[in-house]
């Protein structure tokens, strides 16, 4: 057993690694924003009294949460293709990741909505706030504040899960690694470097969300509750 690592041979490809990491962040950003919207809508939908809407949202959430992301990506990729629709791998990746993270976001947001005390909504009604004002100030924002840690963890997991998009040749970090290792025959070194890059990306994202939390929820900072 001998292990010889030759990192310089791989590290000279650093521009490709950086481009891959940038695309990974880009994928994660679009999927996070769109997924947060979709998930919030699905969570609101599950709570409505309309059985059809609530049922549809439940089926969406349960289907996505109980099937692998890889299968979902393949279904979207080949499904759109078989309908004759041609999209870039990047758009397909964003769509699949959005659908995926939307389901998890919906569950987290639902927990947040359920944690809002009924009395606060009644109090707001008593103060003659409009329905929209109640939804925004009394339900949505406090719910997001409550589930902010779970929500942001989910988005970091999404960034890591975007590595699966390498399988439909969206050129993010893992796909770049696959090219580099087949080019240099230095697979182990390549994937060690990529693992380190992912760890850095997730630390950066965590730090970013933590900072954003301080800005968005100053009350939390005053109260000293950990984010």
């Amino acid at each position: 057993m001998s292990l010889q690592l030759d990192f310089p041979a791989v590290l000279e490809r650093w521009p490709s690694f950086l481009a891959g990491a940038a695309l990974t962040l880009e994928l994660a950003f679009f999927a996070t924003v769109l997924g947060a919207l979709l998930g919030t809508l699905a969570a609101v939908g599950r709570g409505t009294h309309n059985a059809l809407i609530a049922g549809t949202c439940k089926v969406y959430v349960e289907t996505i949460r109980n099937t692998p992301l890889l299968v979902q990506i393949f279904l979207v990729y080949f499904g759109l293709a078989s309908l004759g629709l041609k999209y870039s791998a990047f758009s397909v990746a964003v769509a699949a990741l959005t659908i995926n993270v939307g389901a998890y976001t919906a569950e987290i947001m639902r927990a947040g909505f359920e944690a809002i005390p009924r009395g606060q909504i009644e109090a707001a009604e008593g103060l003659a706030l409009s329905r929209l004002q109640i939804y925004w100030h009394i339900i949505l924002l406090p719910a997001i504040e409550k589930v902010y840690p779970a929500l942001t963890s989910q988005f970091v997991l999404l960034m890591l899960a975007s590595s699966v998009c390498s399988q439909i040749s969206a050129e993010e970090l893992t796909a770049v690694a696959n090219y580099i290792q087949s080019d240099t025959y230095r697979a182990f070194e390549t994937y060690i470097i990529v693992a380190v890059l992912y760890v850095i990306l997730s630390l950066v994202m965590r730090a970013g969300f933590w900072g954003l939390g301080l800005v968005l929820f100053p009350r939390r900072r005053r109260l000293g509750t950990p984010l």
Partner: protein
Amino acid sequence: MGGHLNINHLMFLGQGALWTIGLSMIALIGGGIVGFVIALARISPLKSVRIASAIYVQLVQGTPLLVILFLGYFGLAAIGLKVSPLAAAGASLTLYVAAYLGEIWRGCIQSVPKPQWEAAEGLALSRTQRMMKVILPQAIRIATPPTVGFMVQIIKNTSLASVVGFVELMRSGQIVNNSLFEPFAIYAIIAVTYFAMCYPLSLFSQRLERRMGRGRSNLATA
């Protein structure tokens, strides 16, 4: 073109589904054993052990499973071990599952009410006795619903082993698709099969959680 989906294709997919279950069991048992050690190491009285296990968890949780699988596949080869896809996938999934189960179980152990620890100490039990006789039996009860829930993640994540050439459900679907070229139908079948494996576990975990919730609220009013 290889004709239409027939019974042989379905048998092949079924075999893949069995390997998905097999690989999930390997990941759960291997990851469970290592994860238990991680959970204990995370609350060890020794600071160096705590830090080392925390770094392990951070590294694994900051890396995609796909990359861990590649590392296992090419890493074991790099140190001169001839690896089958099963060995690589089993080892990588074990390391991955251990980090997550370790953290879940650490939370469960630490959520055993503080007075229980103090009472056990007051009874002059040794650290091992406190753990084995007082804390762990209660922690296992708390840990059951999230562990069942995590099994769903394990089953879904074994689909990534297809990428290093392990013929489980996903890979067998890709192989069948290579001869039939009916991706939409085949991947839909695959998705339904995964759903059939995962959804009962999800429901079971939710039921356990509700029952636990009731148990805990009973405790609170008692």
